[in-house]
Each structure stands twice: as C-alpha cells, then as structure tokens.
C-alpha cells in the first residue's frame, strides 16, 4: 500500500472519472481500468478485476468498487476520499435536475421518455458483459446466469434467493 501522498492524485482521478461516468458504474469500467492500472499503476489488471468481483458480491451500488480501489491505495482514508470524489459533485448536479423535473416541463418529460429505452438497453448490456466475465472465469457459470435471468424475469420473489443460490452453486460446482 502507498502512503498519504497518493490521496491527492486519487481524488483528482475519481473526480475526473465521475464527470464522464455517464451510464453508471459498470459502463465506465474500461475507463476506470485505464486510469487505475495504466495511468497511475496503483494495481495490476488481475487485482483490478478481483476487486470488481468483490464489489459485485458485496451489497451496495456497483460504484463501491471505487471504495475498494481507494482502500488499496490509501486505506480507510483513501476509501472515503475516493467515494466522495466520485459521488459528491455529480450528486449536486443530479439534485439540480431533480428540481427541474418537479416543474413538470413537457419537453423534459419527452426527453425522459426517449431516454428510458436507452437506459433499459444499457442495463441489459451490463448484465451480458458481467455474465461474460464470470463465464470466462468458469464455464459452468453460464447455466447459472441463464437460470437466474429467467427466475428474476418470471417471478416477483426477492432477488436475494438468486444470490444465495449463486453462492451455493459456486461453492459446490465452480
């Protein structure tokens, strides 16, 4: 682990990343990889991939991977600094837009309706990219991912069952 001298670059890196992070945590993964691994050399590719899997397995938004990278670079301080840099400024923007939405402007409603299918398409793409990553790690993950897709699609039971099943399946077969 590095010392406190890395906090400045860490904050700057995630501030910059947050401003281009349209589409959410999974969508900016390639750009995050470029910053963390190639530009700053904070960790290698494998370590990066494992931290992403860990953030996936832990509860919370996908963006928690940023906290894990911060932890790796500068401990608990790094974790909070990186998360604040990633979430702070964009939160203010999101709030400003949320206020605008409350005025019920017709053009804004239209823009939103047009963006909905794009959002859904991007979510589907994230699911497929994540599934691809796990299948590369273990081929037997494919039937699991497919079964979980159908379960969540067809039933309204809590998705927690899906993850419990995934953990058991992993322990027994992967």
């Amino acid at each position: 682990m590095s010392e406190d001298g890395e906090i400045g670059p860490l904050v700057l890196a995630f501030l910059a990343l947050s401003l281009v992070s349209v589409g959410g945590g999974i969508a900016v993964l390639p750009e995050m990889h470029r910053l963390v691994v190639e530009q700053h050399g904070w960790m290698d590719s494998l370590a990066f991939a494992k931290r992403f899997a860990l953030a996936q397995a832990a509860p919370g938004p996908n963006i928690m991977v940023v906290g894990l990278i911060g932890w790796h670079v500068a401990g608990a301080t790094g974790m909070f600094a990186a998360m604040l840099a990633m979430c702070g400024p964009t939160s203010l923007l999101a709030y400003a837009v949320a206020r605008l939405r409350q005025r019920d402007l017709p053009w804004l409603r239209l823009v939103e309706r047009g963006l909905v299918p794009i959002a859904v398409g991007l979510i589907a793409a994230s699911g497929l990219l994540l599934a691809k990553g796990t299948v590369e790690e273990a081929t037997l993950a494919l039937p699991l991912a497919a079964a979980c897709t159908v379960f969540v699609w067809r039933s309204s039971r809590s998705p927690l069952w899906v993850l419990v099943a995934g953990a058991l399946y992993g322990a027994l077969l992967l």
């Binding site: 832990a58 938004p61 964009t90 991007l122 699911g127 998705p159 993850l163």
Partner: protein, 175 residues
C-alpha cells in the same frame, strides 16, 4: 402514495444493504413491486435520468426519487441511506479480502454470486422492457443501445447518437 421521510430513509438503507450485484434491481423491486410508491414508468424515468447524468446511476436515481417525495431533505436521506450500509460493510470486506481473498472456496463462491448477479441484472432489464410496452421505434432505440454498448462504443457517443432518436420516437408515441 407518499412515504414519510423515515420510510424513505429506511427503504434506501434496506436497498443499499440488500443490494447485491448492484442496487437497481432491488430498488425497483422494493419501490415499485412491494411498496407501490412509484409505477414502473415513473421508476424507469427516474433511472433513465440517473443514467444519462454523470455519476453513479443508482445514487442519481435515489436523489431523483428522494427529491420527488421530500425535496432536498429527501435527496439527502435517500443518498445517505443508500451508501451508509454498504460503506460500513465495505470497510470490513476490504480488510477480510486482504487476508482471505486467495482461498479457492472464497473465489468459487464469489464467482457464483457474480454470475447470479449478472442474471439478475439481465432479468430486470427484460422485465422492465416488457412492462413498459414500448412502441416499435422505442424498442429499436433500446436494442441499438444494447448492441452499441456490447460493441464497446464509448458511452458519451452512444448517448449523443441515440438520445435524439429516442426523443423523436417518444414524440411520435405521444401523438
């Protein structure tokens, strides 16, 4: 139906803590299916705005929904609720992972959870697509977004290219 401030905070605390594999699937399940505070369309719109703005989309979406019910206080409560639990868990997880991350059983379980989470994300997308009952043009916009994202076209480009198409399709659908 409008939740109280406490209900809103507790709901997001729960979404954060149960939100394995990304919180959007869980947020939709709780806010739309269980509590009935939002319709599918309203949730999808809040999420769409959250995705188009820069920043973590789950947080943007939470701020949007929080503001809708309780203004600035609602935004803060939803956002803090969303992150409070996961940050506490993450501190523990990071420390444990440094020590035990290399054990084969831990790796296998993590891979299993990751695969299940991927299915969850995909299943939620299918569910949303069906419930929204989009027109053919809106469906095409969504499929194009899917394909371009899979081809790893940079996201700002995907949005610049498809947003006009989506808005045009939405205008036609509104007539």
């Amino acid at each position: 139906m409008t939740p109280s401030r406490t209900q809103l905070f507790l709901a997001y605390l729960r979404i954060g803590l149960t939100g394995f594999g990304g919180v959007n699937a869980w947020a939709r399940q709780l806010l739309v299916e269980k509590k009935g505070w939002l319709t599918d369309q309203q949730y999808a719109e809040a999420l769409g705005v959250g995705q188009v703005l820069p920043g973590p989309n789950a947080l943007n979406c939470a701020i949007n929904i929080g503001t809708r019910f309780h203004g600035a206080a609602g935004a803060a409560l939803a956002g803090i609720g969303l992150f409070a639990g996961p940050m506490a868990v993450l501190l523990g997880v990071a420390a444990l992972y440094d020590r035990y991350g290399q054990i084969p059983l831990v790796r296998a379980v993590l891979t299993g959870i990751a695969a299940a989470a991927a299915g969850m994300v995909l299943g939620t997308a299918i569910k949303m697509a069906i419930k929204l009952r989009p027109t053919p043009m809106l469906t095409a916009t969504g499929l194009l977004a899917l394909v371009l994202a899979l081809l790893r076209v940079p996201l700002p480009l995907v949005l610049l290219g498809l947003a006009p198409l989506g808005i045009w399709a939405a205008r036609r659908a509104a007539r």
